[in-house]
Symmetry: C6
């Protein structure tokens, strides 16, 4: 059975928990007014996905999310023919569903995709707002409520893998970073169901790890990791073991970096 054309399965039922950190809501709403394409920039686990869920809820739009990867083809986005007893039947891909019926299509980590995927969005992101389905010989004009949102982690950008200028210049961009300490502690308290002291301790540990970024760590601990550690501690594991399993072990295998991180954490826990 295929999804309903009202995309109701993709609507966000309840308000997602999101704490604004700047003017990101205003910029997104101004972009939405003109249906300008939006690019969310920032490190792993800092809340980009949660933000787009929040905006979809706020704007009463369904949200279709696609995690891009280097083996994804344009057909994975646009659709393909399937063979049935009645012959070949066209099947809209997730992007085409959003283009046809309206809603926000969120392409996560677009930079991982091959060019056929990024190029397919070009005619959707200028004045034409069309999606040519070449294999079907159809030109789909975008629904008035269609908007395209992509995420992009600048830390991954390399000579090999980067968006082309002709793609980048089609988007309005919003920068994300980790929340400020008080806000992050509030998020950890709420999501991991821990008390304010433990939350603050975890946030101070995150700060230590983020300072090691570039000195052995590719990225510091994300807010998500603090929540993991908080949940393990709430599940009965000692705080030391919870921090070890939720934060230290996942982000590094290097003995020296582990030691440096461990020492910094011990100071926080003391």
């Amino acid at each position: 059975m295929l999804v309903d054309t009202d995309l109701s399965a993709y609507r966000i039922a309840a308000e997602p928990y999101y704490r604004p950190v700047g003017d990101e809501v205003a910029v997104f709403e101004a972009a939405w007014l003109h249906r300008l394409p939006v690019m969310l920039k920032g490190p792993t686990g800092c809340g980009k996905t949660r933000f787009v869920e929040y905006m979809a809820w706020r704007l009463h739009q369904p949200l279709i999310t696609v995690a891009a990867h280097e083996d994804m083809t344009a057909a994975d986005l646009a659709g393909r023919f399937l063979l049935t007893p009645e012959g070949t039947v066209w099947h809209d891909g997730p992007l085409t569903q959003a283009v046809r019926h309206g809603g926000i299509c969120y392409l996560d980590e677009i930079v991982e995709a091959r060019q056929d995927t990024t190029v397919v969005i070009h005619p959707l992101t200028d004045a034409r707002r069309i999606l040519p389905l070449e294999k079907r010989g159809e030109l789909v004009s975008a629904h008035p409520d269609f908007q395209l949102v992509i995420s992009y982690n600048p830390g991954y950008q390399s000579a090999v893998k980067d968006l082309k200028e002709s793609t980048k210049q089609r988007f309005v961009a919003i920068d994300f970073d980790y929340p400020v300490p008080e806000l992050e502690a509030e998020i950890v308290m709420r999501e991991a169901c821990v008390g304010p002291d433990l939350a603050r301790t975890l946030v101070s540990i995150a700060a230590c790890s983020r300072n090691l970024r570039g000195q052995g760590l590719d990225e510091g601990a994300s807010t998500r990791m603090l929540i993991h550690a908080g949940r393990l501690a709430a599940g009965g594991v000692s705080l030391e073991a919870a921090v070890h399993a939720g934060i230290v072990l996942p982000i590094t295998d290097d003995a020296e970096v582990r030691e440096a991180l461990g020492a910094a954490i011990a100071a926080c826990l003391a």
Copy 2:
């Protein structure tokens, strides 16, 4: 359902807004007289796509646009067999549709395509004006109103990816660049619905960014980005935030370049 053979879906209904900057209209019309293939050269977002839309409207021709990419195959242009209950049925690709029924076929960023795509256009771009559909065993003679147009961004050209000499020499070329300031301000006013002062400010910001080209920026801000920033400002975002989200953030992640660009912009806004 396949597109109608009169390609009416591909006709440009209303005159596209286009402001000529030189003799490009005359050269294109002389090329059209002899149906010579045309190559549009120039940077991202300077109006090549809008120009070809304008010429298609002016010449009363349908316009079939294909965004080339490195995973596109010759079959994506020429067509393929589809399996139906009645057996395999041939399905013309976008290029074959234009060749058969007449009209302008616009291959955007042809240099991204693989050789099987560029070679397929050779017999269409010399005296033969034929398209051999090898898989179907058919020689399609081009409709008298068929013309091929390609775009080509010289800034992307590299040793790995460039058109072969035997391809380049088949085209008449037209150079494009950003419009002169007064003209660009007029375009921004019209497309972003902003006043003349704001438009001129945005154009002066674009000039700053274009001066940084080669000094950290791959390309300067396109006219499209100025329109984005104008629309965000018109949508209630402060001018600083609009310029930041519409121009600065999308084109660079480099802290130093952002600072240089920011300082130049601050001077424009002062």
Copy 3:
């Protein structure tokens, strides 16, 4: 015939023999409480697979194991359409089976897989807990008893093949290493049906080989190899020949390393 939807074929009938070495059972149970994704880290043959079998038995969950490799596709995990006389029929892959019906899905050596495989697990490993089956147009919400476990051998990690930060940070991690000597001897005795003296001798040989790690050996002898040698000896082969066939020959072809290892072993056997 496809597997039953209760996944009974994947239930562990009898308690697997597993000897805990630290707080790994407690950490896993705390992670299970919140269904946090778990990453098992450690060298070849140190008991990661046995541990996850033990936990599946302890938690009364079916265990679906998939050995990842670089030619595995997302479809191998998620499922695909098969052609039958009634047309194309969807066939859930092993991951989808676990997501739909509950249970532990264990992806062994995930780092070997391509990105389309690792990215497919992202929406399963955050608050969404969904698996989008794009080809089928279905959003599968995870069963309350679904948990994802992956293994990861840090020794294999390289610039080319490593998990992305945005993947790593989704997991709680547990470190594994070879068991301490007394415990390892107990395991060898039980699994190879040999006496305590022989078991201890084999464990001392393992220690010698592990000391050569980095000095010609990529990894030392695993507990599994000790069991092999023990079984060969129990099968009537001399101890020297059993150690040679079960331990020395499989791990190195280098004449010098063989000699060094042989001398160390001779000392153990003396």
Copy 4:
């Protein structure tokens, strides 16, 4: 509908305009007498394709042209099975059509093809004169009027892409170069419908560009480009603009080379 087996669609109806420049017609006719395979060598746009059309007309043979490229497979030449309601039906490729029914098969830019394409012609180019259709289990003996012709641009030849010795030695070769000035002017007059003065001017411009070959230009302007510039001028564009659009812009994007070429052209036009 497939092509008729008399290949009438591939016959050249009217005598192609071709001006011999040496003994190429005599050599080709002697090769045709023994049906020896022929290789046409020379730069882009110097008339190789026109020559083979002329010879096909002169010898009353159909001409089947295939533009080789690196994604072309042996099946594109030899044929393949297509699925129809009656099951799989064999479909002769263009090479097999010529082999079976007689005529000249012209493989343009053979050096671009992969080895499976070049190897497929080996048994056709020695005493055997057979084409094994392995997938069909058929040995096709060449029609007495079958001849194979290939083109080859030595300027493209590289270590990576070159014909194997065992392929080269199967062909008689004919060298091509640009026509001498008077002849080239005559061709430009006839094809672009321009007067003798303009034709001579364009030919002198071509000479300038050919002198820059190796000094910034990969190839000089071909005769085809002179015809393009002539047609643009005949279409009402100024001569300067016609030369710029038809010759200068297509062959170089380098500012210095453009300037050098522009100065040389200005001298010709003065």
Copy 5:
């Protein structure tokens, strides 16, 4: 017609001629007792294949041999769906046949295979002894008489192509080398039907070639080559010509190495 499920076509009818050179039969039988996986190591043509045929005969087991190569896929081992008038029908691959019905599955030169092939054998080579057929959704438990044997030529091992540690450590290993001179002469006499003097001469020539290993030769002459030369001589060719055609020409094209080898051989023949 598919093979019978009793695999009778794979049974070895008559005792293969095999001369043991050490304790290899005892080690293999001890491994068979516990159905431990076995790896046969040694140079080209030294009798590994003959040994496994002998052991299969001795243990009354069918022998399914698969020559691994880098284009072999996991489906070539495990099986695949075939399309028939009744729809898709599963077809067991050679490995699955042995797993299901019992017998020795011999993967020759496993190191040539891609990782998906080597990983597929992991769950068959530990306590689980299962083969997951993911595409079929079936877990095949190994027949009590299933055993896996692989061969591995250490001389081919390179950084690019080597077994992973986690694969190697799953096998008991047996080393092979060329037989001692008297034994090798006996083998040559029997297999080439030549007298003892000629056999001894050929064996001495082999020794010369094996001494040149690493000094221009990748490997010395195998026992198989001696048999070839013996057979040519028995077929009426002079001994010099037989040795030249059967030994010298196949193993080297280097003029100097041929001369050195020729001089050594002349001394043997003198």
Copy 6:
């Protein structure tokens, strides 16, 4: 329609013209007696293909020739399933036809093939003489009259592309080179229908070109090229033009090498 199972289409009707140059006929016949696999070594166009045709005629065997290339798959040799209205039907490839029905299978330039092609012949080239058709689940025992012959040009051999030792050692080898002058002149006279003086002149030109091997030429002129030049001359082209078109132009594009070769040829023609 598939080929008849008596392979009559592959029988050589008339005695091929072949002039022995050494003991190659005797060695081949001794190898045929024991059905030993044979490898023919030598440069391009020196008569390897003609020799195997002659031996097939002499031994009254059909000859199935396959030109190997790097895109050839094992299925191209062994066979594949084809889809027909009755479902999938197995279709023997050329190798399987020879294995099943007897005859010589000649794999031309085997070194060009991928490993899956070379490995498929291993069980056919030792005592087993079987061809496992894995996809069909069939073990084909070779017909008593099956023999495998391969060709191999040592000049092409490189680190990347060479036969594996374990493949080479399975073959008896025969070396080929250009015929001695009198013999070559006789061949040219007969095949090009020219007189003895012209033939001797062409042979002396070949000698010049072969001396330039390694000094700008990859290979010298083959006997085939002399025949081409002779035929062109017999077809009315001047001797200079015939030598130029048949010999000089095909083997080099280097101006200096052409000049050196031209001077040497002029001396021969004087």
